[in-house]
């Protein structure tokens, strides 16, 4: 006769007890193995940092357009590198920093921010305290270098997550977050696997070099797209000037 057991009986029959014991052990082992496997087989991503909770004071010049940037002279002799570091500025959470920097375009300031970076892309999340103009007026102008017309395939992402807040910061799983960030004013990034032989991240602007209207791209975020436009460079930052109709989703 088959063994029978109900929880309120004083003890389980030997066969059922043994089976349950081994089943629990097997499930624990399977759970641990699944967790390890899941961690192991996920896509890798480039190293990044978001110094969440740690802010520092930065001094530089605000460039409010097309997207807020703090331009900071590099110390010492930069050699072949650009003479200035460019820190894209964003607000807390999923908000841009346009309003915070609106009155400081072209001015030298001191501000407090949390560093975000991945590869050569750097960003500051503005944190508590006001932006303070500094006495020394070292306004900088960074001329843009025209790199020519290109047709590139890549993905539109929000620059904050892409520069280091999220890992990964691309693909369908991250789409809603990217939509929310871009809708909140985070500058739109165009991430391409190859531009002149290397991966590249552009900031999208309209054909006049000003901030691109959100309506132009919000429905095309985090999916493969082909975009025709003009590439430009300012310091270490790349820009891609496009017309709103130039974004073509790929199947």
């Amino acid at each position: 006769m088959k063994e029978f057991y109900i929880g309120y009986l004083p003890g389980a029959p030997a066969g059922i007890a043994t089976r349950i014991r081994w089943t629990v052990l097997a499930l624990l082992a399977a759970t641990a193995a699944s967790a390890l496997l899941f961690a192991e087989v996920q896509r890798t991503f480039a190293p990044s940092a978001f110094d969440f909770g740690k802010s520092r004071t930065f001094r530089g010049t605000i460039e409010a357009h097309p997207y807020p940037v703090l331009v900071v002279p590099r110390p010492g002799n930069p050699g072949n590198q650009a003479r200035y570091s460019r820190y894209l500025l964003v607000g807390g959470g999923k908000h841009g920093a346009e309003e915070q920097v609106a009155n400081y375009d072209g001015k030298s300031v001191r501000l407090e921010g949390t560093l975000i970076y991945r590869g050569g892309q750097t960003m500051l999340e503005l944190v508590r305290g006001p932006i303070s103009p500094t006495e020394v007026a070292t306004a900088l102008t960074q001329p843009r270098e025209d790199l020519g017309q290109f047709e590139l395939v890549g993905e539109i992402a929000d620059s904050k997550c892409n520069f280091g807040v999220m890992n990964p910061a691309s693909g369908k799983v991250h789409r809603d977050c990217a939509v929310r960030c871009l809708s909140g004013g985070i500058p739109p990034a165009f991430v391409v696997a190859e531009f002149r032989g290397a991966p590249a991240v552009f900031l999208l602007t309209d054909a006049n070099g000003t901030a691109l209207s959100k309506e132009a791209f919000l429905e095309k975020v985090a999916q493969p797209v082909r975009i025709k436009g003009r590439a430009e460079k300012a310091g270490d930052s790349l820009f891609f000037e496009i017309t709103p109709t130039a974004i073509t989703p790929l199947p």
Binding site: V173, H174, R180
Partner: protein
């Protein structure tokens, strides 16, 4: 409950990370950020996860006999059968979400293995159960049908037959035979797979008990199931498929001395 808690941790984490601190209410963002319901590849998978989580929440908060009593067993059971909707939504959540971004075959294989296991076990169970339902019986003019051989029922156990669309559990115990409905009033558990413990039919799922002669739970419990008239003729058990109202006492058939030894 554990599954809901795991899902809730995942859901809250996702809502905080992906939808909070922005220009919209997080729940509004969750429901409106992706509205490509017409596209399979772009289908809004997060809403599917929300559907699964809401169902798991309802199941978790009603996982108590208070709710079983107040909702009534049929409503409660229907609510908890939504676990299949939740599972389907979960599979959609994974295949239309994670598997669209991650390319490792291991993840697809794991999801497929889960789906195969669940579907496979249900198909196996359906095949096994359909054998019980497929068996045909010819009733005599007095309404009784030849249900099974007496010796095929182990002591304090039951044979299950499907008569007139109803499953009946025929129990043999202490030299007697009684037949009651196979369906436990608690959560539709299969009483025929239970045992006689302390003189009561004991459901294998949660241990609800019924007296075999009247189908009623011993006091102070109040659950009752239908009972069926039995007879023993020439070593075989005959059952009248006409159900008696739940709790109706029917004298158990006594096993003749000669047949009890078989």
């Amino acid at each position: 409950m554990a599954t809901f808690l795991l899902g809730a941790i995942h859901g809250v984490f996702g809502i905080v990370q992906f939808h909070s601190f922005g220009d919209k209410d997080p729940l509004v963002s969750l429901l409106t950020s992706n509205r490509n319901f017409g596209s399979l590849a772009d289908f809004p998978f997060q809403q599917l996860g929300l559907v699964a989580l809401v169902i798991l929440f309802l199941m978790a908060v009603t996982s108590h006999d208070f709710w079983l009593r107040n909702l009534t067993p049929p409503v409660w059971k229907k609510l908890h059968m939504l676990v299949y909707v939740a599972y389907a939504a979960l599979i959609g959540h994974i295949t239309l979400g994670l598997l669209q971004s991650e390319t490792s075959p291991w993840l697809a294989a794991g999801t497929g293995a889960s789906l195969l296991t669940v579907v496979g076990l249900h198909l196996l169970a359906a095949r096994q159960e359909s054998r019980v339902d497929a068996r045909k019986f010819q009733p005599l003019p007095d309404g009784f049908v030849d249900a099974c051989a007496l010796h095929s029922i182990p002591e304090k156990c039951a044979a299950v037959v499907s008569l007139s669309g109803e499953r009946i559990a025929i129990f043999k115990f202490d030299g007697k035979v009684s037949a009651i409905s196979n369906v436990c009033r608690h959560q539709n558990g299969p009483l025929g797979e239970g045992r006689i413990i302390d003189g009561c039919v004991t459901c294998p799922w949660h241990g609800y008990q019924y007296l075999p002669e009247n189908g009623a739970s011993p006091p102070p419990f109040t659950e009752k199931v239908s009972t069926f008239q039995t007879q023993i003729r020439d070593g075989r058990v005959w059952v009248n498929p006409a159900p008696h109202p739940p709790g109706t006492r029917l004298e158990p058939s006594r096993i003749p001395a000669g047949e009890a030894a078989q």
